[in-house]
Amino acid sequence: MENKLSKSKEVILTRVRESQVLARLPEIMPESTDGLKSHHQPESDLLNSLQKEFDLLGVETYVEKNQKAVCKRLRNLLQDKSVLSWNLDNLPYDAGTVLQSRNVYFERDDKIIQASADIGLTGCDAAIAETGSLVLLSGEGKPRTASLLPFEHIALIRQSDIYFTMSDFFDKKGKEVSQASCIDIITGPSRTADIELSLTLGVHGPGKVIVVIGP
């Protein structure tokens, strides 16, 4: 198999080499990247812009003043439902305390058990104001399944993790981004319009996304 493979590679690359010389491609046009860099927004606008996008996407948003208020909000949202969560020390605001004495599943649990949870609870590495996106970098203790399997996803966002554009985030956290084995950018609830273009939520991923933004 190895031999056959390296032969295919050689064949393809030879063909490509011969072709790229003959390729009748259009000229490279003059371009300007000036206008494309982010239009830096004042800090106070970040939260507003983000909230506006969340509204458009149908993401339920709560902004809380302090840690205590975040936890109280979370307790109300969770009620007595079962939870698939990031490891407690990966959650901001000591939110793990809210989970005590509940049905909580983690990364180590079997995926069928994980899939049975009502709510997925995660933090978030960045929130992008321009598009209303949550950026989740995968890693140990931050199971990708938590934002994927349950029908409801609750994400806790620190205000300091809000960026205006994706580029702003990539510029600042390039190293973390390059080391993650999976970067998930989530923009609203799972949706489809395959049947007569009529919008339906919660096809495979969560049909409901809730964010709690703390200080």
């Binding site: 259009p26 300007s32 970067i183 998930d184 799972s190 395959d194 495979h204």
Partner: protein, 466 residues
């Protein structure tokens, strides 16, 4: 396979289809234009995206080698496949090595192109499509008919009947109910599968990242739950850096569905690390299957296509005949280049002819691909048709003689228009005009006006002269 004109006839005779196409394409067109209005500096962004792709293609060999290195650095296995058969065999070998029985797939045009499902099923494996539209297509034993809306040709009743039939569930024509049924059925498949297969929207050369975009989340399921993830990627699908990727993502979602960003953008950079959830193995198969040949000539520019489907929605031909009539994986204006490009012109020479060359496709293409120019190029090399019939050739010769003598021409047209008016029962003639019957079989032919333009003109001069 059936003849192109037969497929077109069939499509045109299908009232459901034309209704569905009209509704869907016009909605997608208006969503796209609204979405672009929210993008600052969109035109400049399109220029940059175009340049980025051209630079990649100019230097594809180097880029492929760099991409391979980056992938390996991330811990992914890299395979090369020069044609469909090799690509299918690579996937089968990976699957057999791990005794894979059930495979879940996220939508991939490339896998359609190489008929991967057929090959896997033949090798004894079970394959399940998980994009809602593709799942329905698979249940129906049908083929997708639009790049981003695979069942644009089906009504909700069609889907309801199909699910009732194949999945033994009560009939419903509510998209909400039908979607819930699919969620339940497919959730089990995701959990049971040993292997996930996806295509790739983009491959990032610098970082060895595979970018996948969906709205449903099925690509995330496919790349998270099974222990093996296989990526099929065409050798042309590369961008250089993360910054490039970011720009293409902005264009892709707006062009395809009118969103600022699709719901799920997953950037995969190797297998899960340590105790992390995610596949234990990631295999990337770089597939040529005719692309390197297209690179060396007039069709090279079409390799910049990002498969957004925008050119389908604006095309007056696609809007009328839909995707199936094109006869292969890629429909619409861009398909009329890619299909002959990949599979050879001999069998597909009718596709480039099926265009009005109105240029709407080029206008909406986020990469500004000059589709009409390439369609014309393909027409130039289209094999000469069988000689026209003797009667037609004679008629044209007669016409040449008559048209050369103004007086005779005038006499003939006056006679001709009188005759046609006489033949036409009302103001329309159909079916019976000798020599024109192939045209009039499917179209009405307006009878000439009572007064010709020339006559009106002369009368006006005479009147004004007084």
């Amino acid at each position: 396979m059936s003849h192109f004109s037969d497929r077109v006839d069939k499509a045109l005779a299908d009232d459901n289809l034309s209704e569905a196409l009209k509704k869907a394409t016009s909605q997608l067109v208006s969503r796209r234009s609204t979405a672009f209005s929210s993008l600052e500096d969109a035109e400049n962004l399109r220029d940059i995206a175009r340049n980025t792709k051209m630079k990649i293609l100019h230097n594809l060999e180097d880029n492929l080698l760099k991409f391979e290195k980056s992938l390996q650095k991330n811990g992914s296995h890299v395979h090369w496949a020069k044609d469909a058969e090799e690509a299918n065999n690579v996937v089968i070998e990976i699957a057999q090595k791990q005794a894979v029985k059930k495979i879940v797939k996220s939508k991939s045009m490339l896998s359609e192109e190489i008929h991967l499902n057929t090959a896997l099923i033949k090798a004894g494996m079970q394959v399940v499509e998980t994009d809602l539209g593709e799942y329905i297509v698979q249940l129906a034993g049908d083929k997708p008919s639009h790049i981003i809306a695979p069942i644009i040709h089906m009504t909700r009743e069609d889907v309801g009947n199909l699910m009732h039939d194949r999945l033994s569930v009560p009939f419903s024509d509510e998209p909400e109910v039908l979607t819930r049924i699919a969620r339940r059925k497919l959730r089990q498949e995701f959990l049971d599968a040993d292997m996930g297969i996806t295509g790739a929207n983009f491959g990032v050369v610098e970082t060895g990242s595979i970018c996948l975009v969906t709205n449903e989340g099925n690509a995330r399921m496919v790349t998270t739950l099974p222990k093996i993830h296989v990526v099929l990627i065409g050798i042309e699908k590369l961008v250089a850096t993360f910054e490039d990727l970011n720009r293409f993502l902005k264009l892709l979602a707006r062009s395809a569905t009118g969103q600022k960003l699709s719901v799920y953008t997953s950037i995969i950079q190797g297998p899960g690390k340590g105790t992390e959830t995610g596949p234990e193995e990631v295999h990337v198969v770089l597939v040529d299957n005719g692309r390197s040949g297209m690179l060396g000539g007039d069709l090279a520019e079409s390799l910049a296509c990002i498969r957004c489907g925008a050119c389908l929605n604006v095309c007056p031909i696609y809007k009328n005949i839909g995707g199936h009539a094109y006869g292969d994986t890629y429909a619409g204006p861009i398909g009329s280049i890619i299909t002959p490009g990949l599979r050879g012109l001999a069998q597909w020479h009718e596709l480039p002819a099926a265009s009005t060359l109105c240029g709407a496709c080029k206008e909406v293409c986020p990469i500004r691909i000059d589709i009409p120019k390439m369609l014309l190029k393909l027409r130039q090399v289209t094999p000469p048709k069988v000689k026209a019939s003797i009667s037609l050739r004679m008629a044209i010769k007669c016409f040449a003689v008559i048209a050369g003598i103004p007086k005779v021409y005038k006499g003939f047209t006056a006679f001709g228009s009188r005759l046609l008016r006489f033949l036409g029962s009302k103001s329309w003639l159909t079916n019976n005009i000798p020599l024109l019957d192939r045209w009039t079989k499917v179209r009405d032919f307006k009878t000439p006006a009572k007064k010709s333009f020339q006559r009106m003109w002369q009368e006006k001069i005479a009147k004004d002269g007084k």
